[in-house]
Amino acid sequence: MGTGVLDVDDNNFESEILKAEKPALVDFWAPWCGPCKAIGPAIQEMEEKYGDSIIFARCNVDDSPNTPAQYSIRAIPTLILFQDGKVVDQVVGAVPKTSLESLVQKVL
């Protein structure tokens, strides 16, 4: 059982994600985005399952435009998996849960 999905922004992205000791899965989302809302519950569920070994975070692209620009994000939801400050892999869109599972398996 994890501690919930962490909200990150342009200011704390480096300290919370890039310099984190654990790998992190960041959900780039926005409140007006339907597909982002659809996958929200699945990400919470995965946090409950894997939250001990992976940080689950979300970054609102509306409030924090710099971080998505840095990773060339041009569609949401985009989920990026980070480890040791580097991008391991990413998926775009409301992909099936099996794709989310295989994504996190890459760092487990």
Partner: protein, 303 residues
């Protein structure tokens, strides 16, 4: 369509929406149905496995008969797509493609399923790198760039108009536009450049979208390609209301046996709720949704 409040608004006039309309209207609820009969999956089908019709029957005939039945019970029909849904103060408000709006005590989602991807070379590889399936989600990432929208119907036209506020140029690639006249007029008066009578052959680009190759041989140099086929579907119209989707694929809407979603007053029926994609299931679920919605609306009105 009149100004005041409806009891039951139904999005979709396939078998699920028609059966919901028949049952809700026969319970004396005030019912309005949106959508285009030609866009139902059933329109071009020949059906041999629907109970009690021994000879194969044309889908078009079933749809026409269902509409007459529903009209006999005083359900109203509006042959337009819905482009926006909201849920405020226990009421649902809807906006149609011509810009008309109305409110209803309940909403029944019967939008069916439709193809959302082009299936052309380069498309899959460049998703998130310039290829997008949601103008409302992603327009903001294309500020000051040149973009193209692909599609023939309301989602493409309203999407192209929305993008005018973000992109520096917007081109709409379509075979032939199929939208209501008022929306067509808005498009004609806008800065959107319509590239008609052709379609996308390939999305070009190495790491990101650099352009699209058209079937007529032309190439458009754009940074963004928005694929907006058909009308807005479940992810665009329902997810925004907070509806829960199936936990595995996020492609169908979760309901209980009363066809209720997790949002009070909001129901779903037919292909949009999941497989099997069959008429018998669509009308069965439509029947339940229509009855439940009518009863819920009555309780709300009496309270």
């Amino acid at each position: 369509m009149s100004e005041d409040l409806y009891d039951v608004a139904i999005i979709g006039c396939g078998p699920a929406g028609l059966q919901a309309a028949i049952h809700a209207a026969s319970k004396k609820a005030r019912v309005v149905v949106f959508g285009k009969p030609r866009k139902s999956s059933l329109y071009k089908a020949h059906v041999a496995n629907y109970c009690c019709y021994e000879e194969p029957i044309s889908g078009k005939e079933i749809l026409e008969a269902g509409r007459k039945q529903a009209e006999n019970f005083d359900a109203e029909f509006v042959e337009e797509d819905i482009i926006e849904t909201k849920n405020e103060n226990n009421l649902f408000s809807l906006v149609t493609e011509s810009g008309a709006s109305l409110t209803s005590r309940t909403l029944v989602l019967c939008m069916g399923v439709s193809r959302k991807k082009l299936g052309v070379k380069g498309e899959k590889r460049l998703v998130g790198r310039g290829v997008s399936y949601c103008v409302d989600c992603d327009a903001n990432f294309f500020k000051g760039t040149d973009v193209a929208v692909v599609g023939n119907e309301s989602a493409a036209v309203t999407g192209a108009l929305t993008l005018l506020s973000y992109a520096s140029t917007v081109q709409l690639i379509c075979r032939k536009l199929m939208v209501i006249d008022t929306l067509h007029d808005r498009l004609r008066e806008s800065q959107v450049k319509v590239v008609e009578d052709t379609w996308v052959k390939e999305v070009i680009g190495t790491d990101e979208v650099e352009g699209v190759l058209l079937k007529n041989g032309d190439t458009l140099n754009v940074k963004g390609v928005f694929v907006e086929l058909g009308a807005k579907g479940a992810l665009e119209l329902a997810a925004n209301l907070g509806v829960v989707f199936d936990a595995e694929t996020f492609s169908s809407i979760e309901t209980n046996k009363k066809q209720e979603t997790n949002i009070p007053g909001l129901y779903a029926a037919g292909d949009i709720v999941g497989q099997p994609w069959q008429i018998a299931k669509a009308v069965g679920e439509g029947c339940v949704a229509g009855i439940e919605a009518a009863e819920y609306a009555k309780k709300l009105a009496d309270s």
